[in-house]
Amino acid sequence: MNCEVCQLKELEVEHFEIREVLRCILHTIVFHRALGLVRPKVIDLELFDITYVQCGDGELEKKIDEKIEQFISWVEKHPNKKSQVCISFYEVKNKHPSWFTNKTERLYWEQWYINLNVSQQQKVHSGKSHPSKIVVDPGDSLEERSARRAALETSLREVLFQIIKFVNEKKDHVPPISDGVVYFPYEVTIPSSSDSAFGMDMIKRMLQTGGHPTMLS
């Protein structure tokens, strides 16, 4: 099985926009990979005039939010960096124990790379308690901010369409649906404390999937 990789268009986001942008993208991807019975939940973004769909699973929503918070913490420690959030779908295969893995092996069949360029503003708001709080950077003029916001909205829309097109074009690699399973096992990877560690994650994943060169593309 080949692992399909989709590199999403890079988005320039401000700190306070990360949460909404990531939620939107991650949920859209997962919605297209939650092929079990779902009752879709439609969410309107606050910062942008975009509506996305969640698969309505509370557990999933919580896990994704946790990952997003971790990412935001990482961004706060590593300001003004380009970063990637990777969501991978895998199949669990039982395998003989080997050097790197235990009994089970994850066979990644799809990876999405969300590329973000976070322009760190001085205001870092603790978003934990106010997940949707919007922090406004007073440094920019109104026009600049709204122009940037509009550009980001357009780009975000393009990213969503990119996801939809990818989902449409590549269907063969999607594993069969198992009964009772709502969504395929997935993993959200955020950059870890150091860049090199992130690279290590990549290498580890590569080994797990058998080292398909496509993974690195």
Binding site: H32, R39, P40, V53, L160, N168
Partner: protein, 601 residues
Amino acid sequence: MASSHGNSTHSESAKTEQIITEFFAKSLHIILECRSPLMSSRNFSGEQALSSPSSSSSSSSSVRPRDKWFNLALGECPAALENLDLWRQSNFEPVVVDVILVKRGLSRTQSLKESSNAYSSDHEEVLSGSEEKIIERWIVQYDTRKPREKGSTSRRTSSNVLHTLYKKSILLLRSLYATARLLPAYKIFRDLNCSGKLRPFTLTHRLLSFVEPFTRKEESEMQRFSFTPVDTSSGRLCLSVLYHSSVSDASSESSTPMSPQFIPDYVGSPLADPLKRFTSLPVSSPSSLPFSRRHSWSYDRYRASPPAYFSPSPTHSEPPAANALQFGPVNLPPQHPDSSSVHKTNNSYDEYYPSPNFTPSPSPSPPVYMHGNHLSNAALLRTESAPVCIPKLNLQPSLPMNDNNRPSRGSKLDMSTGLPNTGVSVEKLIVKDDSKKHYGTKISAVNSSQCSISRSSSRSFLDDFDDSDFPCHFDVEDDDPMYHGSRPESFDKKSHIGDQMDPQAGGTFPIKKSQDAAVGALVHMLKKAPPLRQELSTSTADSTHVSSIRAEHPLDSSHSVLVASKTTADALEELQGFKRMKDCLLSQGGGTCNVAAGIWK
């Protein structure tokens, strides 16, 4: 209908057929659920998770069997979709859904009902006065032209084939669900659905089994998005959409139920763009004063009956001066009630140089109103209609400026709002005749509430520019209530309006509108300008009464008076002078202008 005859192909084809049938139904459901306000109002569960109690658990038991198709539980199937099965003869006919934006000419209170009536699978009712536009066209079809690849199929088990078909259909429908909410038409649907306000537009749809081709022009305006077809053993399922990439014109229409119209040129508060050009002058003023007007003289929208400047809206307590001041040139009675006061005002007027610019609409040039601009007068006449009518609200809510109470520019016009407040002052207001009185009433009323007419007479115009609290020219004296009636002399000093209004040979002052008053005040002020004044003083001898702006019909009589006082050529010359001055001021940022000096003298 799985056949147990061991003919796997047969059962496979039957199941394939069933999948295809359900695919049509599901895709229609998805599309109509987010395009037809009527339908979704009956079926909200798909749109809002809260509506379904079991949404979080998503237990299969709570989902109707048919709803489980493609693992996408959308909730109740609207009646139309159920009928779909009946009118569709076969899977080989395409299903075309045209999403139509219906713009209603008039706001209707029964819009919802009508739109519900309009819902129909075969036709839609066209509301009288409404305009329709197809903003989206979805085409779902089962294309059997693809040659069947028997070879490949035979190698795969039928269950695999079916499973793959089903899985791919699921993926396609998921992406359809997401796409439908990303296209522009969704915003309109959401707007209609979620907002309780009545909108001047609605969405309806039309189901067809054939494609009505668009004209080339129409098609060129639309974009296409095609979903990747899903292959089946005997064909492929195709889904595509043609859509207008921008349907914002509909949704950008007024979303506030209250405000009927939008004042395009509302200048707003003085803090707003001081150089804003006032372009929409009512009536004949061909050239919107280039000079930025501080006040929202622009009245078009709100003009109720009297288009003119003054639409006083007595009942309206908002100051927005937008409408009013058109400064009807006409109104300015050439005569000044009191020469001394006039002089005073003149002084201020001088400084106000630019003020002539304010003469808006009716007169192309400020000075024109002085007299004889028949055209402007006529405009005034037209605009200032019915003396008593209380122009609509105008100055409406959307007008930012004016917060009443202040002589700020915007407020001028709002004389009308004050009306109710002034009881006593009204009495005092002048007037030569009933109309004037009426007018005066308005003014005082206005004063009390917000804008004082020609309050700023004593102020220099230039000061006004610098001052964010730029007072309304028409602001009445500081002591609002008394405005005109009570103190004619003070009025003379400050309010040009009264003088002007009157002048026309004691013409009636239709005081009706505060805006008229405001305009009149302005006119009066302008008239007090040195070059103008001379002619005016003679003609304004009469007035002394507040009725500042006589916007109304009195113009007829005053008309002749005004004409007498000044010739068109003089007015034109003054206008040009004012223009030069204005340009000078604009370029110099308010410094004195040499050119102006020349003019004034």
